[in-house]
Symmetry: C2
Subunit: 288 residues, 2 copies
C-alpha cells in the first residue's frame, strides 16, 4: 500500500470506530470533513520520518499520522466557519457548514480533535510508553501555546508578528508530524522539529504563491483570500519571484536539517521531491 | 487543601503552561472560560473515586480531574455560541462569545479540548502506562460516539431518544469522571461506569428541576430554556414531584452501584451528600 492508501485506511478505521454510535448527521459531516481529503501532506511527512527512522511499530506510527491529519481536518472545518473565513468551498467542494450547517460544523471540528487523541491512544496500544510523548507533541502543535489555535487567534489581534503567526498556524502541525514520526519509533524527537518547521514554512510560502497565481478550480478553494483579508503573505512582502526564491531556500534548509537516521539519504530525496508538489505545476517545472 | 482548591490549583497550572506563548485575547478568553468556574462537580467526583480507591499517584489523578473539567468548560463555551443556545450568560456572567466575540469563543473551546489531553499526559508522567486508558476514557466521553459531541448533535436530529441524548450529553462526562478516577489509580475502571452514569442522570434531572423552579439569578444562566427550545426534560415528562422522586431513586441506585474499594462506605456518604447539592436549597432541605 502506498502512503496515501495507508493513511486513508487508518482514517477509515478511526472513523469506523465512532460512527456506529453517532447521530446520523454528525456521522455524515465527519466523513465529509475527512474524505476524500487533500494531499495528506502532514501524515505523509510523519510516515516518511518514521520510515527513515526504521519504524518498528507501524500501528503507533499510523495512529500518530491519523491524529495529525484529523487535527488538520478539524482546523479546516473551523477555519471555514462564518465567523472566520466564511468560506463556501474547501478541497473543491462546498465547505462543511455550507452542507451541514454551522452547528454540525462546530461539532465536527470538536469531534475530530477528540478523535485524534483517541486514534493516538489506540495506535499506541502496542507501545504504551510512547503515548505521553506523542500526546504532548500533538497537543502543543494544536493548542493555545504556539499551536494552530494560537495561530488562528493571532488573526484576532491588532498586531501580528508574521513569522510567529505562520509558525503557529501552519508550522506547528508540520513539526508535530516530523517529531511524532520520530517519537512513534521511540527516537529522540526534538532534533526533528526543524525539518517540520522548515517544510511547514515552505508550504506556507507555496500557499501564498498559489493564492496569487492559481484559479479557484485548480486550488479547490477561493483565491485572493489573503489579499482580501489583509493577511500576511510572502508574495505581498517579497513579490512573486522573491517568494519562489524563499521557497527554494527553505526546502534546502529543510533537507540539511534532517538528523542522522537509517535512511537519511532517501529522506532527503523525498523531501525535495514532495516540496516541488507544493507549487502549481508550471512553476514546479520551472523550479525543477 | 480541599477538593475545589486542589482542582483549581491544577487548572491554574495547566493554563499557566500555555498562556506564556498565547495571543493575549485568547489567553484572556481561556482564563475567563475556566475561572471562577462552577461547582466543579465532575472533577470532584473524579477525586472522590480516586480517594476511595486509595490513590497512589496524586498527580495522575490531578491530570485526569483537570482534563475532565477543561472538557466540560469547552463544551459550555461552544454550547453557548450563537449557532447553538445563543446564551448571553453562563455561571452568572456574560458568556465567552459575548465578551470576546464568536471567533475567540470557538478557539477557546478548541484550545481547552486540546489542553485537556495535554494535562492528562503531563499528569501521567509518573505512571505513563496509565495514560492510554485515561486518554481513551476521556476521548470516548467527549467524542462523536456517545460523548458530548454526540449529545449535542442529537439536537440536530429530527428524532431523539431522550435517555440516549442525556447519556451522551451529560452522563458520558460523569462516567468518565468516575472511570478516570479509578484508572488513574490503576484500578479496573469499567465497574465504575454505572456510578458516573447514575450520578450524571441524577444531575440532569436536577438540572431540569432547576430550569423550572429557579430564577435566573440563582441559576447563573437563563431559565426556561429547555421549554423554550422544546428540549427533552424530566419535568415535562413526569411533573415536578415525579422528577424529584426520580432524582432520589437515581441517587440511591448510584450509591448501590459503587464497587468494592478501600473507602466504599465513605464514598457512599459523599455521593449522597453531594447529590443533595444538585437541588435548589429549599427542595434539598425538603428531600434531606
Amino acid at each position: 500500500m502506498d502512503a496515501i492508501g495507508r493513511i486513508n485506511f487508518t482514517l477509515e478505521e478511526a472513523l469506523a470506530g465512532v460512527l456506529a454510535d453517532c447521530p446520523p448527521k454528525l456521522a455524515a459531516a465527519l466523513r465529509y470533513s475527512v474524505f476524500p481529503g487533500g494531499a495528506r501532506l502532514r501524515p505523509k511527512l510523519c510516515l516518511a520520518v518514521a520510515w527513515a527512522c526504521g519504524e518498528d511499530e507501524p500501528r503507533v506510527v499510523d495512529g500518530a499520522a491519523a491524529a495529525i491529519e484529523l487535527l488538520h481536518c478539524a482546523s479546516l472545518v473551523h477555519d471555514d466557519l462564518p465567523c472566520f473565513d466564511n468560506a463556501d468551498e474547501r478541497r473543491g467542494k462546498p465547505s462543511v457548514h455550507k452542507v451541514y450547517g454551522e452547528q454540525l460544523a462546530v461539532l465536527s471540528g470538536d469531534a475530530l480533535i477528540v478523535l485524534a487523541f483517541e486514534a493516538l491512544a489506540k495506535g499506541a496500544a502496542r507501545a504504551p510508553h510512547r503515548l505521553a510523548a506523542l500526546s504532548t507533541i500533538v497537543s502543543r502543535a494544536t493548542g493555545a501555546a504556539g499551536g494552530i489555535c494560537a495561530g488562528q487567534a493571532w488573526e484576532c489581534e491588532p498586531e501580528v508578528d508574521v513569522s510567529r503567526y505562520h509558525r503557529a498556524k501552519t508550522g506547528a502541525l508540520f513539526s508535530a508530524a516530523t517529531m511524532a514520526g520520530a517519537a512513534a519509533c521511540s527516537v529522540t524527537y526534538e532534533p526533528w522539529r526543524a525539518l517540520g518547521e522548515l517544510v511547514g514554512e515552505a508550504y506556507q510560502v507555496a500557499d501564498d504563491i498559489r493564492d496569487v497565481v492559481c484559479n479557484a478550480e485548480s486550488l479547490g478553494k477561493p483565491v485572493g483570500v489573503d489579499e482580501a483579508l489583509m493577511r500576511p503573505s510572502a508574495c505581498r512582502e517579497l513579490g512573486l519571484q522573491g517568494a519562489i526564491d524563499k521557497l527554494n531556500n527553505l526546502v534546502e534548509r529543510a533537507v540539511d536539517s534532517i538528523p542522522q537516521c537509517p535512511r537519511v539519504q532517501e529522506l532527503r530525496g523525498l523531501v525535495r521531491q514532495e516540496a516541488l508538489r507544493f507549487l502549481p505545476e508550471e512553476l514546479a517545472q520551472a523550479a525543477a
